[in-house]
């Protein structure tokens, strides 16, 4: 693993770039343009940032087409974002994992089945009937309920709770203190008292799903709450019972999906967006941050607003709203003029 400081020439090698300027310039860290000093590497991902590069104090910069030239040392690449990913992958320290085998401070039921090369940290609980597949990593304090299944190469971070009978696929990552398989929020009333609907179902998380920290996925009343392969979910997201999410979706922080909401493939939800219960979003739907979707949205549409409507219209509405006070004034003036016209008419 390469470690800072790095020379421009070494960095260029890591990211398949070409040095323009002094390849021996040494930098101690990767930093945004505004904060970079002469000892730092920075990057310009677009034309606007390429322009502001000249004002930056950075010692070296990763760039694509722009700027054409500079007094700084440039490391030129085809794709700045791609180059950053390569660089970060090269310099990122290896992920923190418990040692192979079962930590002495873990509680593994004798009726659980744990692969020999799984990594089970201190404070972990694996309950009766649960299975943990090859190379799975259960960080400190992860709790796995009865008959739950954890797939190969899957990583449960610290404090994750997996409820009984839930199924977690392969290469899944779940962030610290997230909860999979809690009871859903379903009640029926008898004589003025709310009674919990029994939640007989489970949660199924397909392969390559990634979930952030403190996110909650409720188990189904019947069948499964399901998260499709390759979907990525941020922190503090609420996914209610019987929700079904397709493949490759992106759910940003603090999103909320109410009961039985259904998402197609590659749906994108901005931060704090929500979807009403039983509402369906087609493939590729995009919902702006802070939008609240209250009715079905056809595939490919972009929506915004509370309640959400087509994003293009929403922009026009917001623009018009900003002019509302002025509009009220113009209406009053017009009313006065019309009164004048009417009264002169009367004469």
């Amino acid at each position: 693993m390469p470690i800072w400081p790095l020379k421009a020439g070494e960095i260029a090698e890591l990211i398949d770039g070409t040095v323009e300027g002094d390849a021996s310039v040494s930098v101690t860290d990767l930093v945004g343009i505004a904060e970079a000093g002469p000892e730092h590497l920075t990057f310009a991902a677009d034309a606007r940032r390429a322009k502001s590069l000249e004002q930056s104090q950075a010692g070296a910069a990763i760039v694509a087409e722009e700027p054409k030239e500079s007094e700084k040392t440039l490391i030129r690449v085809d794709d700045v974002q791609g180059a950053l990913v390569k660089l970060l992958a090269a310099i990122a320290p290896p992920e923190d994992v418990p040692a192979e085998g079962v930590d002495p401070a873990a509680s593994v039921s004798p009726e659980a089945e744990v692969a020999a090369d799984a990594r089970i940290g201190p404070g972990v609980v694996v309950s009766a009937g649960a299975t943990v597949a090859a190379r799975a990593v259960l960080c400190a304090g992860a709790l796995v309920g009865p008959k739950a299944r954890i797939g190969e190469n899957t990583r449960l971070a610290e404090g994750v709770v997996i409820g009984g009978r839930c199924v977690v696929g392969n290469r899944v990552r779940i962030g610290p203190n997230s909860v999979i398989g809690s009871d859903g929020f379903g009640y029926y009333m008898v004589n003025g008292a709310h009674h919990l609907v029994p939640h007989a179902g489970n949660v199924v998380i397909e392969d390559d799903v990634e979930i952030g920290a403190c996110t909650c996925v409720d188990r189904a009343k019947f069948g499964s709450t399901r998260i499709g392969a390759g979907t990525k979910i941020d922190n503090l997201v609420q996914i209610a019972h019987n929700v079904r999410i397709g493949r490759g979706c992106l759910l940003t922080g603090q999103v909320g999906l109410a009961g039985s909401a259904q998402l197609g493939d590659y749906v994108v939800l901005g931060g704090n967006a929500g979807v009403r219960d039983n509402v369906s979003l087609g493939d590729g739907v995009q919902c702006a941050a802070y939008s609240a979707v209250a009715a079905d949205v056809p595939a490919g549409e972009k929506v915004a607003g509370i309640p959400a409507g087509p994003a293009r219209e929403q922009i026009r509405i917001v623009t018009a709203q900003a002019k509302l006070p002025e509009l009220m004034k113009r209406l009053r003036e017009l009313e006065a003029k019309v009164r004048t016209l009417e009264s002169s008419e009367d004469h």
Copy 2:
């Protein structure tokens, strides 16, 4: 416990229904109308769904009045939702609980008082002076602070934190990783620095309250933050210091109540709704999802919007907003016409 597959006749017995058609049809699971195959049981809870039943591939269906007849096997009941609850209660596997007694991997203070038939899981901590009553269930990793009291038949799920001196009633359920009794967000400034107001109070959770996962209830500055009997609270809800909630309320996911907010009985808050500090909602108030209540609301009212107003008006405002761009255009046209009228007047 009956286990799938089940025959239509067996299901009818579980839910007090009557079979119309082949009582020997066997089904393997309960599934929504759209996804049901010939091996599945489904249900039609309203007239619209009863209609779509004919297109469904389901092998059998639970129905009420509609449809009058069908080629499928029908299990006819008075109340479909009630029947589903009965069915789910019958087929739901028994809840996951630790064994009776104290798990060897738990830490119970010698100065705590724990009922002999309580169930204390691995990793649980019960601090000095705390009491855990009969048949209480503390799942793996639940943490109970000093002098806290946990009532009879109460269930703390995995990773729940109960702060010192908090009081949890009987038959209460608290979901995984929820936090009861953290310090509130109250600061006073001295010489440009924020200082935490000491939180001398606690949280009192009355009988039959249920709380979801990753929900936070802050302790009071003085006295108690109080949640009334039979109130149900979803996941990721924020309840600030000195909030008082009445009986039988429903707080949906990601709701937020600011400091000293006060809710009457049977108040309902939709997802992501919020209430400003010191604001009171009367009995039976209903707040739409994504509403922000900034002023007191009298009993029985329905509110919506940011800031929240009467729901009926809010619908009219939202409808009018959608017409705003058109309205701007009409205003401009009118102004032109009035100018023309005025100029012809001048002549």
Copy 3:
């Protein structure tokens, strides 16, 4: 520590106040004006509350200038809020902390460095290379990753997760089940599949920061996600990768800051407010609850709304919105009148 019941005279001594009336009146608790009975102490922090004091049943009250006189026992002070803080500080029970040293049910790596007078509770994990400074308190179930640094007098509440290489300053308080240093939500797409951007950075939490329960702070892609000294953060707040927060800020419950958002000093965000990625808020900016900031805000401004604009304009817009249905009606009437005028013109 003084314990209820307390005499008015004793209370006056604790808060540097003067008794007017019977100094021997004994009260059992501090309670809000509306709920107070004759056995309670209450307080009137402003003129409106001073007025409602006469209707209150309270046995005694802390007041400033108003009311001038009362039949109740008054404890008169210069600053009611300050007096309450003094009183709460006096009566608050000492904070719950584990015993000095390492609890036998904790897992401390032999390669970690833990101060002798630190307090390490049951279920705590301190990983290899981590350091825990003097008088730090790690409550039950707190998990500290490899090479993380915990400062002096810092308190990690129950279930807190500190990721590897994160740095927590001195006198910091982090609430139960909060997560510091989870991976950020950054993905790049290769052949239709989302791939996580490696997160090579960490989180730096400066001195005197306080964070509530179930709050998430993601680690940086490169460099550090940084929270400035003396900033206070409430429950269920989402802070994304590479965010930089200045000194003395206040972030209320359920706030969300997207990637690389930047806050100056003394910024205040109301509940559920959000800031878009890469957006900067200058020193002293105030964002209303439920506002969504989508563009840079200069120092000292107050903003509100979705999307957020200047708060003063926003109030005018909201006021105008409430009149929208009426405005539509007036526009229609005006159109009719102008038609009439035009037709009479034609004759």
